[in-house]
Each structure stands twice: as C-alpha cells, then as structure tokens.
C-alpha cells in the first residue's frame, strides 16, 4: 500500500496541515442564524414576522415603562409631570403597595406578621418539595400551619397550642392502635383529637383573645395578595387528603361509597368555581345552624377546598390507574389488608406519579383565587377593581395596576411550574 503511494506520488505530506478556520458563514452567529432563523425562505419570513411582532410589543411598552413615575401622590400629578408624553404612573404601586399586598384593613403595624409567615412558608415547603433535604425539617413543616395561623390571625396563643395538642393526641392514639386495625387507629385518632379540641376550646375564653400578646385580626380584615396566597396554600393543603380519600372512594368496591364519590366529583367538576363561590356568599350561610355565623373567609375556604379536592381526586385516580396491576396483586399476596396495602404499597407510588398533576391543579387553583373578588372579597384583583380604582386619586390607573397583578401571579405560577418540570425530570430518571 505505502509502496504504491511512494511510486505514484511525487510528494507525500507527513504531518497534517494546520486546521483552517471554518468558513465565516458556517460558524459562529452567522451559521446559528442561518440554521435557526433563515433555514428556508418560509422560515425567514416567519422570523421577520416574529421580529416585527416583538418590535411592536417592545415599542408599545418600553417607553411607557422606562418613562414611569414612581413618586407622586395622585394620577393628576402624574399627568402634570408627564405633560402629554408617554409614561406609566407607577406611583400608585409605591403609594398603595401595602394595600395591594395586605388589603386595606390589615393593621399596618402588624405587616411583619404575614410577611414572616410568608418567609417561613418557604422553609416549611422546602422539605416537601425537595427530597434531598434532611427529613427532620418535616417537623417544622408539621408545625408551620399552627405558626402561620398564630402569626396571621393573632389572638391567644392557646388556640394553636390546643390545636397542636389535639393533633398530637390524635397522632398518638393512631400510632397506638394502627397495628391492630387501621380503622380503629384512624377513627380513634380523630375522636381523640376532637376530644382535646373541645376540652381545650373550653379553656379559651373571649377575654384571653382580647388580652393576647398578638393582637387578634378578624379574617374579614385579610386582603390583597396575601389573601390569594392564603386561600391558595390553605385550600391546596386541605384538599390533598380529601382528594386522596375521594380517589380511593371512587375506586372502592363498595357501590355506595363509590357512588357518593362519583356524584361529588362529577358535580363539583361540572360547575364553574364562580357558582360555588356564589354558594359560599349567598347560600351557605343558610345551611349553618341558626345561631352561628361562619365568616365569609371560612365559607370560601370550604367551597374552594371541595373544588380543588375533586380535581386532585381525578389526578390521583390517574396515578392509581397507572400503577401496574402487579403492585396490587403483590400487596394482596403478602397478606396485607386494604389499609396496609394502600398505605404501604399503592399510595406512595401513586402519589409520586401524581405530583406533577397535583402541582398543575395547585397552580390553576391559585390563579382561580382571584375569582373571590366577584363576591366582594378584597383580594389583589378585588383591591384593584374596588377601593383603589374607586378612589379619587387613582381613578383611571388601569395598566399599572393590572400589570402589577399579572406580574405577581406570573412570578409565583411560573416558579411553581418550573419546579414541576424539574420534578418531572427528576422522577423520570428515577424510573430508569
């Protein structure tokens, strides 16, 4: 081989010539643009159209945002300063930020309390959301609801303490009896908790609430974005256990239980949330005992929880259905009873599959909390449409306020959906 070469060629290069730069058009940004923006003529047209659309959007918004004014006390002053030029009047945000975030009735000197509760929410949520964190943090998660309640509503510290004691008692009874029978443990736990709560309730007098270190704030005074966050977090957390129960009920072999669950789920999913909120605002009051009055916040929490529980139940049902049948059979063959099989084998796997779906429901639900503005609750949207736009100073500031609301929701929802995608990737690798 090398012989022939030596005879037929007068010159053989023994070392390689230095690599040449790729042609200008086949490397760097030009190649990238060619591949990704102008691959075909049609593609090029699309690119130009898209660029034009982007230009239009930016041209309309950028000068408005950059020219914004942050420091006046009314729209009229803004208009005076702008003097006909384009520009936003962001002063409404700097002047009313507290109302947008906390509503107009929450006492100003107490803003640190919901803010602290909000920060602690991240600490509490972290071990649930990220499995790598030490499991001991879950203790804080379990305590968080009580802390958050105490921070936001205030009042006597006895209320959360009694609540914790009830939960502890319930948990203890459950642990004690669950080995014998799940039903005994479960119902015994509930009964124990109820007993403690009722006994503790006797301890809490009205005077205790008034003399409390933390000033009590009635739930009517909650508002702004805080209200959206609270409704979202509370209702989602409450609806997960309810949703699991409904999903299991729907799969149950007992016809009556199954029938009740199916009717409930299909009914709730068949009507818009707004009609359920109408129920909360105009009907539900009639269904409580005559001498009691349950405040609107609680009625709304009840209805939204039922709403999201129905959706979560469907997600979990999907998770249950996606489990291979072998898992059910394996559990049976080990001699586990229904409660044990569900608790130890089925639900841990089914819930894991359902997490992305549950997160989607949670995001949807969080967005839907804005609907409470329709029933005269002053959440973020309610504050904007009601007191702020109706006030003499800020009458006519639509874009700044709506844009701010949109931005807040976008940040939260986009964050959650990014987390959900991360989780999906993470769970996907676990299966391989």
């Amino acid at each position: 081989m090398s012989d022939t070469n030596q005879h037929s060629a007068s010159f053989v290069r023994t070392e390689s010539i230095p690599e040449r730069e790729p042609p200008y058009a086949a490397s760097g940004p030009v190649k990238w643009a060619r591949d990704n923006l102008f691959a075909t003529p049609a593609n090029g047209v699309l690119t130009i159209v898209a660029a034009y659309v982007i230009y239009l959007i930016l041209a309309a918004t950028l000068p408005w945002i950059l020219n914004g004014i942050w420091s006046t006390s009314s729209l009229a002053e803004c208009r005076e300063i702008l003097d006909g030029t384009t520009g936003a009047c962001f002063s409404v945000l700097s002047e009313r930020w507290n109302q947008l975030l906390f509503g107009f009735q929450y006492p100003e000197e107490l803003y640190w309390r919901p803010s602290l509760a909000f920060l602690l929410l991240f600490v509490a949520a972290a071990p649930v959301l990220f499995f790598d964190l030490p499991r001991k943090l879950l203790i804080f998660t379990a305590l968080y609801p009580f802390i958050a309640y105490y921070l936001i509503w205030g009042g006597t510290i006895l209320t959360p303490i009694v609540a914790i004691l009830g939960c502890v008692a319930g948990g203890y009874v459950y642990q004690r009896f669950v080995a014998g029978s799940f039903a005994a443990g479960f119902f015994g736990g509930i009964v124990a908790a109820l007993v403690v709560w009722n006994l503790g309730g006797l301890l809490i007098t009205e005077e205790a609430n008034e003399a409390a270190v933390m000033t009590a704030v009635p739930s009517r005074d909650l508002g702004g974005f805080m209200l959206n966050m609270m409704l979202g977090v509370t209702c989602v957390s409450l609806s997960i256990p309810l949703g699991i129960a409904l999903a299991l009920g729907r799969q149950s072999s007992m016809p009556l239980i199954k029938w009740i669950c199916v009717v409930f789920i299909e009914f709730i999913r068949g009507v818009p949330l707004i009609t359920l909120l109408f129920v909360a605002s105009v009907m539900l009051a009639y269904f409580f005992p005559p001498e009691s009055s349950v405040d609107l916040f609680l009625r709304v929490v009840i209805m939204i929880t039922m709403f999201s529980a129905a959706y979560i139940a469907e997600v979990i049902r999907g998770g249950l259905a996606a489990l291979p049948k072998g898992q059910y059979e394996a559990a049976d063959s080990l001699g586990l009873d229904y409660a044990q099989a569900m608790r130890l084998i089925i639900l841990p796997q089914a819930l894991k599959i359902s997490i992305p779906g549950i997160v989607n429901v949670a995001v949807g639900l969080f967005k839907d909390t804005t609907l409470v503005s329709v029933i005269s609750m002053f959440d973020l949207v309610g504050m904007i449409r009601g007191p702020i736009l109706a006030s003499t100073e800020w009458n006519g500031v639509y874009w700044e306020l709506l844009g701010f609301a949109a931005l807040l929701f976008f940040v939260v929802c986009y964050g959650i959906s990014q987390y959900s995608q991360w989780l999906e990737r993470r769970l996907a690798t676990d299966h391989r």
Partner: protein, 404 residues
C-alpha cells in the same frame, strides 16, 4: 375414639361486622349511608329553620314574573316585559354562543402555537413559548379585564368616526371597529336567494362526495386524483354562477353612523369580543401545550418509517403523525372545552349577558331569590358539562386505538 364433629356453627356475632371481610364492607356502607342521611338532614333542617326564621320560602314562581330589565344581546325574542325565565334562556344562549366561538378559535390558536413551538426557527419557537407561559401563568380573570380594557381604551369610540376629518375611518367602508363592538355588513335576503343558498349547500355536499370518491378510488385502484383545486372549484363556482344567474338576490347592508351609534349591519358587541378573545387566547395557550405533547408523543420511529416508505413530509404529517397525535390530544382538549364553558361565567366582569349575568346576576339582585337562582345556575352548568363530556367521550371512543 374420635367422632367427626361438624365444624362449629358460625354464629353471627356483632364483632364480625368489623372483623369479617364479608360483612365489613356492608358495615362501612351502612355507616356511610347513615352519615350521609344525617348530614343532609342536618343541613336541610338548618336551611328550613333559617328560612322560617327569616320568613322566607323556596319558590320558583318568580320565573314567571316580568323581568323588567333589558339585555343588549339577545338571540331570541326578548324585551323588558318578558318573564325571568325568558331572560334566563337568553343568557343560556349567550353562554353557549361565546363558549362555542371560543372553543373554535382557541383550537385554532392552540394548534398554530403548538406546532410553531416545535418549529426549528429559534425566534418563533421562543416567541410561542413566551405566549404559552405568559398566558398559562396569569389568571384568566385578569386577562379578561385586561383585554376588555384594551378594547375600551384603544379602539375608537363611534364619535371618532364623525366629522369631516374623522380620527377613525371604516375599513373598506364596510367594517367599523369601535370600542362598542365591531360592525359588519349584514346580508339582505332578496327574492331567489333561497336558490343560491341551496346551491351553496349542494356544493358543500358535492365537495364532500368528491373527496370521498377520490379517496375510495385511491384505495381501490391506486389512482391519485387531485384534491385541492377541484374541491375549491366545486365549492365556489356553482354558487357564484347561481348568484349572478338569479340576478344578485343577496345584497349587503352596510353599517352607517347615525345618531349615537352605527346603524344597520350586524353588531358584534365589545363584551362578546373581549370575552371571546380572552377565553380563546388563554385556553389556546393550554391547548398549544396539549398539541405539542401530542406531537412529541408520536415516536420518532413512526416518522422515519413513513419516510422510509417514501411518503412526502406533508403526507407523513397527515397520514401518520397527526392521526396518532390526535388520540393523545383529544382527551385533554375535551377538558379544555369544558374549561372554556365554565370560564365563560366570568362574563360578569365585562358586562356580557350570559346566564351568570342574567339569572345569577340581575334576576338574583332584583328578586333576592338567591338560593333558587344559584341552584338553577348550577343545574345548567352541570347539564352542559355532562353533555359535552358525554358527546366528546363518545367521539374519543370512536377514534381510540383499536387494539386487537
């Protein structure tokens, strides 16, 4: 000496209700039934005690009383003397109208955005991701309000069309875009227009028949007839010919500025447009995600196999990828349609007279019959949702993968 004894007679003990799996499910169901009955009885008892205390009663008689208010968009005969039930029917039809329109356009937006998001054009796919993310992550109520505000603030008022040098002019002299809505020419059906309409319907049937014939021919003999041009020809030519033969029986009535508003033509009200557009663009973002997931769910081997068979790219899409993707897309699409119907209840934010605004809004305000109105409202939505999901599930079954 052992005697065989019968196995001990299973006497029924009370504890077997809990411990014996044969009876346990009965026990639980009995308890559940009891709990259900007790809680219902409790709630109803509260309801009637409360109502009696307030001196109220439950009665649907108010539905027959004159409603007393006017509605701006009515698809059926209605005036302020019509009964509340008629107002509710107007609302129902308006709900169905906006839901139907929004379903159609949301599908269009969704499919376009979903396909473009998979485009290999970087800018376009990023723009589409931006669209999807921004609409999916902001509440629909805020979008409805924003779009309605845009409609009101950006579009010209009818008075801008007035004067010698108006600030706004009509498009082609026939379409007026105002912040009260869009005015378009209305057809006037003259004598003989029935013939034209019938011809048009016949040609629609003709197009379908031709396409069917061509497909059958292709499968039977392998002979490929052109589809596009003949279809278009059958669709348009006979109708246009007939239109001129009959002496142009259909004329257009153009909207004209008169008095306070445009008169003549067809008005599509601003609330309808805002709600329609907001619902379609919001739901479109969700549908785009479904479409993208559906297309990505078709494994790459399918596309490659089709190409290996020698199919051209558009046929690969039409004959191989889309039919398989559709099976993945349709179930979530159904729930998006249901969402549109349910979200149309947010019409009250823009003053569109849907069922929530008539029966659940003004009628409820005027009569104070809150319980009755809310119950009727829920009944309506429940009926609609259940029928849509029944119909769609039926369709879903017909396209589902038939495994053998």
């Amino acid at each position: 000496m052992t005697t065989l004894t019968d196995p001990p007679q299973q006497t029924f003990r009370l504890s077997m209700l809990i411990n014996d799996t044969r009876y346990r499910s009965m026990t639980f169901q009995a308890i559940a039934l009891l709990a259900l009955i007790v809680s219902f009885a409790y709630l109803l008892n509260n309801l009637f005690t409360n109502l009696a205390a307030a001196g109220l009663n439950i009665s649907y008689d108010f539905l027959g009383d004159p409603a007393g208010y006017d509605i701006n968009q009515t698809l059926v005969e209605y005036d302020s003397q019509s009964p509340h039930s008629q107002a509710a029917i107007v609302g129902i039809l308006n709900t169905l109208l906006v839901a139907f329109l929004a379903c159609v356009t949301a599908t269009v937006f969704g499919v376009i955005a979903g396909v473009l998001r998979l485009s290999n054009n970087w800018l376009v796919s990023k723009l589409m991701s931006f669209y999807v993310e921004i609409f999916r992550n902001i509440p629909v109520l805020i979008w409805i309000i924003i779009i309605f505000t845009i409609m009101t603030a950006v579009m010209p008022a009818p008075r801008a069309f007035r004067g010698d040098e108006p600030e706004a002019t009509m498009l082609l002299g026939a379409f007026a875009f105002t912040n009260r809505g869009v005015y378009i020419p209305a057809p006037i059906w003259g004598g003989g227009s029935m013939v034209v309409v019938l011809t048009f319907l016949a040609s629609v049937v003709g197009v379908l028949a031709y396409r069917r014939y061509a497909t059958n021919l292709l499968y039977a003999t392998g002979k490929l007839l052109p589809m596009g041009w003949p279809s278009l020809a059958i669709f348009f030519v006979p109708t246009i010919l007939m239109y001129f033969i009959m002496g142009r029986p259909i004329t257009l009535e153009y909207p004209e500025l008169g008095g306070f508003n445009f008169r003549g033509g067809i008005q599509i009200g601003a609330p309808l447009i805002a709600l329609w557009f907001a619902l379609s663009i919001y739901t479109g973002a969700f549908i785009a995600e479904n479409v993208r997931a559906g297309i990505q769910a078709v494994s790459k081997g399918q596309t490659e196999a089709a190409s290996a068979l020698g199919l051209r790219p558009n046929r690969v899409m039409n004959l191989v990828v889309l039919p398989q993707a559709l099976r993945v897309i349709i179930p979530p699409l159904i729930s998006q349609y249901l969402n549109i119907t349910k979200n149309s209840s947010l019409a009250i934010a823009v003053g569109y007279a849907d069922i929530t605004a008539t029966l659940g809004g003004i009628t409820l305000n005027q009569t104070g019959r809150a319980i009755e109105c809310v119950l009727l409202l829920m009944l309506f939505y429940l009926t609609i949702s259940l029928s849509i999901s029944t119909v769609m599930n039926f369709y879903n079954k017909s396209v589902a993968l038939k495994e053998r």
